[in-house]
């Protein structure tokens, strides 16, 4: 190892050149970085939710529509000529936009496109509810009455009380990269309409919009948080070193590590997910520790003038530090790598690239710092200055020895409260809940859910296994039965299927007698109704409800929430029904899809991955500690602060009501990996102290004196870095930042306060 260090020190320019070239290479890769906002892409490709979504889009078209709601709180709601004119205008405008696919009825649903089916003197009439904008009160009343009688679109397109109406429009296929643009376009149009001073208010939502906003927020957040974290580091570094090189060199190290990591991600084709936007901050906050250790040690040795030569001193620093640095990097890395136990690509990527990032940080520290210091002129002897917080550290060493019982009691109570809270831990993978409650998009979404059938899609695809299978009366009746069951759920706003339309046609062809609002009696009859319909309506009016061979049917469900709990409960209840009505042994196949189902599967995987990665990281870190300290007991003690901190983390989530989601699921393994470093540093020093023959009390005081500062600095950086996330625009980031910060504080307290007490247990005291 020393040879290697010597080489670095004798070729500083070459080393720097290599570092710069590698950085340039990384930067050149960064243009390949792309942002992934598709929620379905967060699922592994083998997940049924992912596969079914593809199948759904293939068979029945995408159900991800941009939704615009118009609400008019005046007496007649939207049923007045002015509002209806506006509806016609916006519909025409939407149809003209190149961003939208508006080929079929289901590509653009609005009061101005939907069609009424009714019986006439001798036949079936299919015509738009609003062929022209109604001018007279009588025409408006007629429209209102038809909407109510037809029923299918009530609450879906027009709210039951008439106060609002929605537009649902389909973006062009493969236009995901334009979702943000679409949102801006819609906002501008809506602003233009609102500026006219009418009493209509507009709300924009729908999954493409939500994902588009994510696409805008994510890079903006990365750009915004970077300087805040950098400023924080600059301040902390300045307080610690008070020299330009002491501030700039560590910053250079972490910046380089950040660029390398992003470059690696780009080169490997890994996209940026919502949670991986936090990687830069993470690498800055965690990667800085090695550089700080290095410079502190170098400065201490320089101060004592222990080595005559610049180079010898540097070799000594490197030699002393590479092992503990490697160890802490490995334990932290193991914490992150345990996330690979999850099935979810964003969590896997986060873990993997965080681990890669901190390895880069270590490597760059060991190359850049010695090389740079060799090239920079030797500083004159530094004036000895007492580090900040010395008084606190001294006080700490003495105090912990005085109050072991209080400390034990404090942590005992904390643990009990946390265990209680952890039992209440919930999971929620909702997409909308990722926005803060005050976010305009979330408010628009809530408004739309309040007035209409709901913005979250849930889809059932039923394959009858045979051509014309869905025309059979029994099957159609079971579709209706299933819809009735589904609609019993208060969070389900509406559901629709081909069976509903066939019922309506049946009634229309029997003189509009409501008694005939039932499914056609024979398969032939259903086929002939559809043929009859095709003469008046467009053929693709039903393409979203059935395939052309009449084999596969689709029930579209609108839900008012995408909360995991609600969806999971509904799916659970429907299982028996579908097994009963569409038995597999009769050739039926029932598949679920849609945002609701994706959320459901995401949640399951978050929980499974959480348990697996936590178990993996606990075991791996424990084994590492065992290997490091060579004693089982010490390894067990080393695990106590982090285990406690992680328990408190989950306890807080349970008690405060923060659910596990794709971001907060990272906290456990992450806290474990970062926090265990404190314990390792502490125990390492304590061991040295006891080996040197010091008593228990002296060892505690000396340990505090020696590593107390470093641990405190680390805590500050990590806590500070993660608290920056509190300013995030997205909820998961905020929650994760607060949780990790709080968990790190607990971890610090457990290390510096609880450790000494534990080590003092028993008559003999524990020998480390």
């Amino acid at each position: 190892m020393k040879k290697l260090f010597n080489w670095v020190l004798t070729h500083p320019k070459s080393v720097l050149l290599v570092l710069v070239l590698a950085t340039v290479l990384a930067v050149s890769q960064m243009r390949h970085i792309y942002i992934e906002t598709d929620m379905d892409a967060m699922l592994p490709k083998h997940s049924d939710a992912y596969i079914n979504k593809q199948v759904l889009e293939e068979r029945f078209g995408s159900t991800d529509l941009v939704i615009v709601g118009i609400i008019n709180d005046e007496k007649d709601g939207v049923y007045n000529t002015a509002s209806l004119k506006l509806i016609q205008e916006l519909t025409d405008w939407l149809a003209d936009q190149p961003h939208f696919r508006t080929l079929a009825l289901n590509d653009l649903l609005s009061l101005a496109t939907i069609k009424d089916i009714r019986g006439s003197d001798a036949g079936l009439d299919v015509e738009k509810f609003m062929e022209d904008v109604p001018e007279t009160q009588a025409q408006i009343d007629h429209l209102k009455q038809r909407m109510h009688e037809f029923g299918v679109y009530e609450d879906v397109i027009v709210s039951a009380d008439g106060s609002g109406t929605i537009f649902a429009v389909r973006p062009m296929p493969d236009s995901r990269h334009q979702y943000a643009e679409i949102y801006d376009l819609m906002k501008a149009k809506v602003a233009e309409l609102e500026a006219r001073g009418g009493s209509e208010r507009f709300y924009i939502s729908g999954r493409p919009v939500i994902e588009g906003v994510f696409g805008v927020y994510m890079p903006a957040e990365m750009k915004r948080m970077q300087p805040i974290v950098m400023a924080l580091l600059l301040v902390l570094l300045f307080l610690s070193f008070r020299t330009p090189r002491g501030v700039l060199l560590p910053i250079a190290v972490v910046l380089m590590a950040e660029i390398w990591t992003l470059g690696t991600m780009a080169a490997l084709g890994a996209p940026i997910y919502t949670i991986t936007t936090m990687l830069p901050i993470l690498i800055l906050a965690i990667g800085i520790a090695d550089a700080v250790h290095f410079l502190s040690r170098e400065r201490l040795l320089a101060h004592h003038q222990a080595y005559a030569h610049h180079k010898e001193r540097m070799v000594e620093v490197m030699h002393e530090l590479w092992k503990p640095m490697l160890m802490t990097t490995v334990t932290t890395g193991v914490g992150f790598l345990s996330m690979l136990a999850s099935d979810l690509p964003p969590i896997r990527d986060f873990g993997m690239f965080a681990a890669i990032g901190i390895i880069y940080a270590l490597l760059i520290t060991m190359l850049l710092l010695p090389a740079a210091l060799m090239l920079l002129p030797e500083k004159e002897k530094h004036a000895e200055r007492k580090p900040l917080f010395s008084a606190y550290v001294e006080w700490l060493g003495v105090t912990v020895l005085k109050h072991p019982k209080r400390i034990m009691a404090f942590f005992g109570i904390l643990l009990a409260v946390s265990v209680f809270g952890a039992m209440k831990l919930d999971v929620n993978a909702s997409l909308v809940d990722q926005f803060k409650p005050g976010d305009p998009l979330r408010q628009a979404d809530e408004m739309l859910n309040e007035h209409f059938s709901g913005t979250t899609s849930l889809d059932v695809m039923i394959d009858t296994g045979r051509e014309n299978g869905l025309l059979e009366p029994e099957f159609l009746q079971h579709l209706i039965d299933l819809q009735d069951e589904i609609e019993k759920d208060p969070m389900v706003g509406d559901s629709s299927s081909i069976a509903e339309f066939l019922q309506t046609m049946n009634q229309a062809l029997h003189a509009d007698d409501p008694a005939w609002n039932r499914v056609p009696e024979t398969s032939d009859m259903a086929a002939q109704y559809l043929l009859l319909y095709s003469f008046s309506g467009a053929p693709d009016d039903f393409e979203t409800f059935m395939t052309g061979d009449y084999r596969q049917a689709h029930i579209r469900i609108n839900m008012k929430t995408d909360e995991t709990k609600v969806v999971a409960a509904l799916l659970g209840r429907m299982q028996d029904k579908t097994d009963n009505w569409f038995p597999e042994d009769m050739g039926y196949k029932v598949e679920w899809a849609g945002t609701g189902f994706t959320v459901h599967r995401l949640s399951e995987m978050i929980i499974d991955g959480q348990i697996a990665s936590l178990a993996t990281s606990i075991l791996a870190i424990f084994l590492l500690c065992w290997w490091m300290f060579k004693r089982l007991l010490i390894a067990a003690i080393a695990m106590i602060p982090v285990s406690l901190a992680v328990t408190v983390n989950y306890g807080m989530m349970g008690n405060i009501g923060i659910p596990l989601d794709i971001a907060t699921a990272l906290t456990g393994a992450m806290a474990l990996g970062i926090g265990v470093d404190f314990a390792i540093h502490y125990l390492h020093r304590y061991h040295e102290e006891s080996v040197a023959g010091n008593s228990y009390e002296d060892s505690v005081i000396n340990t505090n004196r020696s590593v107390g500062h470093a641990i405190l600095f680390n805590t500050f950086v990590v806590v500070g870095g993660f608290l920056v996330l509190l300013t995030a625009a997205l909820y998961p980031q905020m929650k994760l930042g607060a949780l990790i910060a709080a968990t790190m504080v607990i971890c610090y307290l457990a290390t510096c306060y609880l450790f000494p007490v534990l080590l003092g247990l028993g008559k003999e005291k524990i020998r480390v």
Binding site: L532, S534, F535, D540, G548
Partner: protein
């Protein structure tokens, strides 16, 4: 105009242009296309294949009878397959011009009742095909478009005129669903063999291609026509067979009674 047009789509459109010479504009060419002899009556079989973008096919077979009454015409079509719509029959009385709506009746064997069908917009799609009611006319309503002769070229070995038709008003464009259509018309027989359509956003929407053009009973007839929706990937293939022109169909053939009675092969 409507259904009948589909049934005889390009099958019946021409007589060899009488001595024709000199320059002519787009409108004149379209008028010649419109003024072809397509027989006084016609019996033919037709097969419809609706093919979605994944290649799933839905097939229908029918036999149809058509008779001209000056500029008006009547037609009756019986569905032969698939079995669940067999004996469904459609009767159309087709009036020239837009003053009077066409009359259409459909007989549904499952209900044993004749149902009248409400008239549709010209831009509405017809019977689950990729043809709109406008498309299935032998020629579009000439006075609704501005016709421009773009030029001549060679298409599939034939000299063709390329004529562009743009609906005259925004209202018409909306109603028809097109911003523009380009006709490729064979100079020798005054028959268009390809039409390209653009949607209202100015994007290419559909393409119609007529194939296997031959003379039957002295009438130039396309045996196949394919309309492809370029945007949705859906297409409709029509193939015609067993044409019999000018057999002297009686007026009784086009009555409600015959609609209910159904088709009986002789």
């Amino acid at each position: 105009m409507k259904v009948i047009g589909l049934l005889i789509l390009s099958a019946t459109m021409f007589f060899v242009a009488p001595v024709y010479s000199g320059e002519s504009g787009g409108l004149e060419i379209m008028q010649q296309v419109d003024a072809r002899d397509d027989g006084d009556d016609l019996i033919q079989k037709m097969k419809q294949r609706l093919i979605d973008r994944r290649g799933n096919v839905r097939e229908r077979e029918m036999i149809s009878f058509r008779k001209d009454y000056a500029k008006d015409s009547k037609s009756i079509t019986y569905f032969l397959a698939p079995s669940n719509v067999r004996d469904t029959a459609l009767l159309t009385w087709d009036y020239d011009g837009i003053a009077k709506d066409d009359d259409q009746w459909l007989y549904l064997p499952a209900l044993k009742k004749v149902r009248r069908i409400s008239s549709s917009d010209r831009g509405d799609y017809f019977m689950g095909t990729d043809f709109t009611f406008e498309d299935i006319k032998q020629t579009p309503e000439l006075e609704d478009y501005n016709w421009t002769l773009i030029g001549s070229e060679v298409l599939d070995g034939h000299n063709v005129w390329v004529v562009e038709g743009e609906p005259k008003t925004d209202g018409l464009k909306k109603n028809l669903g097109y911003s523009n259509a380009r006709y490729y018309i064979r100079k020798d027989i005054n028959m268009y063999i390809r039409v390209d359509f653009w949607d209202r956003k100015g994007k290419e929407l559909k393409r119609l291609v007529s194939e296997e053009i031959k003379q039957i009973d002295g009438v130039w007839t396309a045996m196949r026509g394919t309309m492809t929706n370029i945007q949705s990937g859906h297409r409709t293939e029509l193939s015609f067979s067993e044409h019999r022109y000018n057999t002297g169909l009686t007026d009784r053939t086009f009555s409600e009674r015959m609609l209910k009675r159904g088709y009986r092969a002789k």
